[in-house]
Symmetry: C2
Subunit: 325 residues, 2 copies
């Protein structure tokens, strides 16, 4: 990434939409009369769990990869992630046929490593600590000259994520609010960017696990608060806000709502049982907060972004618990 | 049900489509580039797992319930089933506001019983044997005068199931074949009824568990063979053909293909992992046979009917096995 880091504009979202169209799915919007009755709201689920590589992250990653000038492609791209951004960047780079290196903790699930390699990515392992990750990643970039695509604090990535709300606006009329999970804030920032430009009256809610509530505390405090290693079942949402995403959260988010672990798991199970779709725990935080704060949403038309569906089907959080059917 | 039992006609399917439209979903068709690459065919999955009550069975049940003359509604409807037909008939009867009685073995899962009651159905328990079920059911009908809606050997039910293929024809052009699971043969019969009328060149394949292969053996022998209590993970497919469904199978099915238990479980897991949707084991038999008989389907456009998504999420067949991610 070169040049000063300034927030992307809506024109960047429109460019991203045209750029990534051949490489991603226009995901469907599903509804559930059961969940409408249960919440008292009218819910429109944007199914990014059906997205390429199983998550919305492929939008931002594809925008970065396919926006790279031809002269820069030889050195490839690199990132550090043990989650959906790693898969997504590997997918996009594989599709463009350029090198991609992902720094992952050696303790990351083998299935995730296999998926990155399956898309053609190279994994460099680090110890499971921030210091090791940063040292190893710096070395990778120094040696390869690869373009660093940050999982969320990158204007190309935020513009790419903004294409999701752009599609949702084309697919559903008359929304009163949109709600999405918040971790580092990439999806929420892209949503803010798009809606503030084309539908500024729509409320934007962020949903966060109570056990990783740094974005909520940042929002109330008026400055970024970062926690060290929060622990939640919603493992995509453990990372802190950064300057670019904080810019959008501070200026455009209506409120940040919290849900407890058992509420997140219940919402996830409910989604599987009633909508018959596989969603991650992180994707279930919005429904958990909708069920917890019914008064704020009653009678309103709400877009709910289901961010991903990459789940270890051998380790489901409700198995053996009392929460099942 | 009154009058002689004659096979339904395509006009019955068209009537059914108009009759049930307000009460069912027009389910989406999904595709998967991964599964296309894996099978070498172009697959179009008709998602009846997203259907009301979680399965295609609500089509036939709704057609029977909403086709009942007003004068007959007081006595309600009745059936025997411990599966999706029980849920579907209860859903449809609840929607019309007429009584519904379901005879279920006392050993049926509590979750299924709760779901039937949730839709407003009355459960009468029998012992888990055919003789007990028939005796109890005869008593229920004698006392209530209820209209018996058989799970599949009923022209109203078959005409209702035929609406699924009718939608599929409207949604996907140029199909070479359609494949669906076969148990009692209700879905396959409806598919035969519709396709033989409007697209007679399309091949119709039935997919059956090797451990409950009575339909396949019937097809080869030229007469109905019924097994006593076959055992398979695809628990919706244990029942035998009856005269009406045999009529369609014998006259219109191209072939019946078999899959082993581990192949069915692998196909089910693959569908969850790659398509991010919840499907039953019974729904996964077609994909299992497509993977087993690639040569027969290579390069062809295949409609695959995903029949249902009612799964006990606490008891997944791969949990604890080596088959996971």
């Amino acid at each position: 990434m070169t040049g000063p880091v300034t927030p992307p504009t809506f024109a960047d979202v429109q460019e991203a939409a045209a750029r990534i169209r051949p490489h991603i799915h226009r995901t469907p919007v599903l509804t559930s009369s059961f969940l409408n009755a249960l919440t008292g709201a009218e819910l429109f689920f944007k199914c990014e769990n059906f997205q390429k590589a199983g998550a919305f992250k492929v939008r931002g990653a594809s925008n970065a990869v396919f926006g790279l000038p031809e002269a820069r492609t030889g050195a490839g791209v690199a990132t550090h992630s043990s989650g959906n951004h790693a898969l997504s960047l590997s997918y996009a780079a594989g599709r463009r046929g350029i090198p991609v290196t992902v720094v992952m903790p050696r303790t990351a699930p083998e299935a995730k490593k296999a998926a990155v390699r399956g898309y053609g990515g190279t994994i460099v392992e680090c110890e499971p600590s921030t210091s090791s990750r940063e040292a190893v990643f710096a070395k990778v970039v120094a040696q390869s000259g690869a373009d660093f695509v940050h999982p969320y604090n990158d204007p190309r990535v935020i513009a790419g994520q903004g294409t999701c709300a752009l599609e949702l606006m084309e697919q559903v009329e008359g929304l009163d609010a949109v709600i999405a999970p918040i971790g580092g804030g990439g999806m929420i920032s892209g949503t803010c960017l798009t809606l503030s430009a084309i539908a500024p009256d729509i409320d934007i809610f962020a949903a966060e696990p109570a056990r990783a509530d740094d974005a909520c505390r940042s929002f109330r405090a008026g400055h970024i608060i970062a926690d060290d290693a929060p622990d939640t079942i919603a493992d995509g949402l453990k990372v802190p806000l950064k300057d670019l995403t904080w810019h959008f959260v501070r200026n455009h988010v209506t409120d940040i709502l919290l849900a407890d672990e058992d509420e997140i798991i219940s919402a996830m199970l409910l989604t599987w049982q009633r909508m018959k779709i596989v969603v991650e725990a992180s994707s279930s935080v919005p429904l958990a907060t909708l069920l917890k704060h019914k008064d704020r949403f009653r009678g309103r038309r709400i877009g709910v972004i289901l961010t991903g569906g990459n789940v270890d089907l051998n380790r489901l959080p409700w198995t053996g618990s009392e929460k099942g059917e």
